[in-house]
Symmetry: C2
Subunit: 266 residues, 2 copies
């Protein structure tokens, strides 16, 4: 019976409940934020804090509605957006789950390389090295660190059907990825992002990429088994976790003979 006047402003308390008439407060609007956005923020907090871990189910909509003292519809809209952002996954009849880079076939989401026939081929990773060093000015800036802060550098090759196709250089903040060694990398089965999520509690949410065509430097050409000067796709990626905090810088060189980078404009 409560008539809930769309919340007055920021505070979560949506309105006194239990009354029969539209509550007082006429609702001001400097810095107005919809209720469902606030709920979205609260759910995100629980995700970030690890209250609900990747792969786990979260409380049902009705349960969350009663917890936050809002209607189910409001929780629904919050979850809708989080699902659109790939933070949650809805499964009808079962429940809503925290998205994960594990089991998921969310591989292609971050490596959009297809064979010329349009088929997504499986790939294997060959680790070259994993060192700890101090961030260059450039890497520090991109990772939002101070210059000379500790970072981890991983180099690896990806092979598709036995063909060496990708060379990756991956920089990670040393503080977050304390204890990351070549051995642990080699032991882990599955995608890198799945490992980061499971072993280091750092989940990649989104990324931006700068793509160029470049001529292969000799050192890169050697590793990829192409002649020096060979045209390669250069992919510079910055990945972000909760709160849009950058937690990975990745420089990739792709051999695009027999494979292409797929992109959809919509």
């Amino acid at each position: 019976m409560t008539s809930n006047p769309a919340s007055t402003a920021n505070p979560i308390g949506p309105a006194a409940s239990g009354e029969a008439v539209p509550a007082a407060v006429p609702a001001m609007s400097p810095t107005f934020s919809p209720l469902y956005q606030q709920i979205k923020g609260l759910i995100t907090q629980s995700l970030e804090s690890g209250e609900w871990k990747p792969g786990e189910i979260i409380p049902s909509e009705v349960e969350l509605a009663s917890r936050y003292k809002v209607s189910q519809g409001t929780v629904r809209k919050a979850i809708d957006e989080l699902a659109a952002d790939n933070l949650l996954v809805r499964r009808q009849g079962k429940g809503t789950f925290v998205a994960t880079h594990n089991e998921d076939r969310a591989q292609f989401r971050f490596l959009r390389l297809l064979a010329d026939d349009g088929v997504e081929h499986p790939h294997v990773s060959r680790l070259l090295e994993c060192r700890r060093l101090r961030a260059s000015a450039d890497i520090a800036r991109q990772l939002d660190l101070k210059p000379a802060d500790p970072v981890v550098l991983i180099k690896r090759l990806l092979q598709f059907d036995g063909e060496t196709t990708v060379l990756d250089e991956i920089w990670l903040p040393g503080v977050v990825f304390r204890g990351l060694t070549l051995e642990r990398l080699q032991e882990y089965k599955g995608p890198l992002y799945a490992m980061f999520e499971t072993e280091f509690g750092t989940r990649m949410i989104r990324a931006t990429e700068k793509i160029r065509a470049v001529a292969a430097e000799p050192s890169v050409a050697d590793l990829l088994h192409v002649p020096a000067g060979f045209p390669l796709l250069s992919v510079e990626r910055v990945s972000y976790t909760y709160g849009d905090r950058p937690v990975e810088v990745r420089r990739g060189w792709y051999v695009t003979t027999g494979y292409y980078y797929q992109n959809d404009l919509s």
Copy 2:
């Protein structure tokens, strides 16, 4: 007062209205389609048929609700999805409008080339030619035509800050783009897609791109003022209009020194 049992199946008629008790029909579900999806389809039809043209305002939600005999909430959900698909644009307080490639700053949506400093630079087009010819087997297949069907071929250069940066070869179905000539192209001010929409009633909805790094062929290199063998970004695009019908094949070569192709993974 009508209790509307979520429609029984396909037909649009949502339910007999005016009764007080949940209508009979227990609702079967082979090929079940939600009401709002059907409304979405009807609105799309009106867009495709030109009942509401690009840039124009469409009827208000309440008006559409009464036209389709559904609640405003159902229309709202349909429009929400169409807005997410970039077919409609909502503007609070004003109304809902048909998306357009004109005035819009929807330029960057289909040409994601930024300068190294991250700034989006304006570009000018220099038309090289516009011929009519018969489709090759390959182009015919991609445009869903029969081989030797008439097609239009446009070649052009794009210059950013005076630098020649992009070479485009564009194939269009001849039947749809009857009357497209070099002169008309030169006369038209504004983006190509805006012209296609205004002059030929064909609106590009989405596109897929295959991206590779290639060595510049001599003929291409000449036009782009780079040496033969220079690494270029090869972008093969297929664009689609309503009903996912392909209506453009575009082969682009980008010089990515000083510029990069921006992509967001999310």
